[in-house]
């Protein structure tokens, strides 16, 4: 089992922060939903390094990211299945 980054969209959505999107080593992995105003993770691309956790905790000081075992992620976004989306809000 391995863990991937899971962003609490309530906490992140209450900020104007986008910091972790700039520091994830992987491209197309931490995405940003302009409508919901939150970052979110493509779970199929996350390699579990936890760099984003340090960025959110220590630099952004928002504590919005936790590492969660992949089998406990419910309805994780997978970019390889769904493709790039500017927002996950349905009507868009």
């Amino acid at each position: 089992m391995y863990s991937v980054a899971d962003i609490d969209v309530e906490i992140c959505g209450a900020t104007k922060c986008r910091l972790c999107t700039q520091f994830c080593p992987e491209g197309n992995t931490i995405l940003y939903d302009e409508i919901r105003g939150t970052a979110y993770v493509a779970v199929d691309r996350c390699k579990g390094c936890e760099i984003c956790v340090g960025i959110c905790d220590d630099l952004a000081k928002h504590h919005a990211i936790k590492m969660v075992p992949i089998d406990q992620i419910k309805e994780g976004f997978e970019i390889s299945k769904i493709g790039f989306k500017r927002t996950l809000v349905e009507s868009e």
Partner: protein, 292 residues
Amino acid sequence: MSLKTINAAPGFQDYLPKEYQDLLEDGPFFKQRKVSELGSFKEVIEEHPMCSGCAMTLFIRLVYLGLPSLEHTVICGTAGCGRLAISQGAVPFIYGNYGDTNAVASGLKRGLDIRFPDTPKDVVVMAGDGGLADIGFHGVMHSWFRKEKFTTIMLDNEVYGNTGGQDSGMTQKGMVMKMAPTGKKFEKMDMLGLAKTAGVAYTARIAPTNPTRVANTVRKAVLIAREVGPTFIQAYTSCNIEYAIPTPKVMDDARDVEKDRYGFVEYFSDDAKAYWEESEKERKRLRKAEKK
């Protein structure tokens, strides 16, 4: 190699892979993207096998953001970890033999200038410290002596990462590595000093701690190479495997090393300085005119 070749033929787009369609619809090709937009557009790098938490991966991701015209750029590289990601980027990539990156880039850049006299075509070499300071050293130096107009980016993880931990010329003296058990015998090579001596127009040393600065430095280096002469970026891109850095600590390491011995420095030749100041003025003027 131009927006025309990136665009799909009419009626054909729906049949292309989803990743390609995403690049056409939301990618970085049709306008320069900023670091602050990351996450809101489709980036050019697809899935690749570089290690989890690799700082080199992050740096490469930021290089693509800094390149001033992706659709008119060719990247040259060689064996080493970086090519694993660079070969998955939607920008033409030429995989040279170990040692000949800067010779390939020289020929390519000259050829492109003859073939496309009215369109600036950028050539960027991006390869490891082993690839550029050791095995490719003569090619790098001579491309600089000849004042070839392209950018060389060294992904300096201070080790041969891809082959399991041999020391390179860029490894620090005394460093013990898996395949250098008695420790590195010599000082880290002064590639920035050599670049200056060889007449490189712009050099920068940088760590990936400030994404905007990385992107801006890459853009600057490529634009100066277009107009003035060779440019060189030496980037600290730690290898967390060979240096046993736990991945959550990779950015702490980058900040520590930056503070200690890898701080941001840049050097301009007189010509490069004059060109850059002039072009900054011009950009300011254009921005003002746009606002009006």
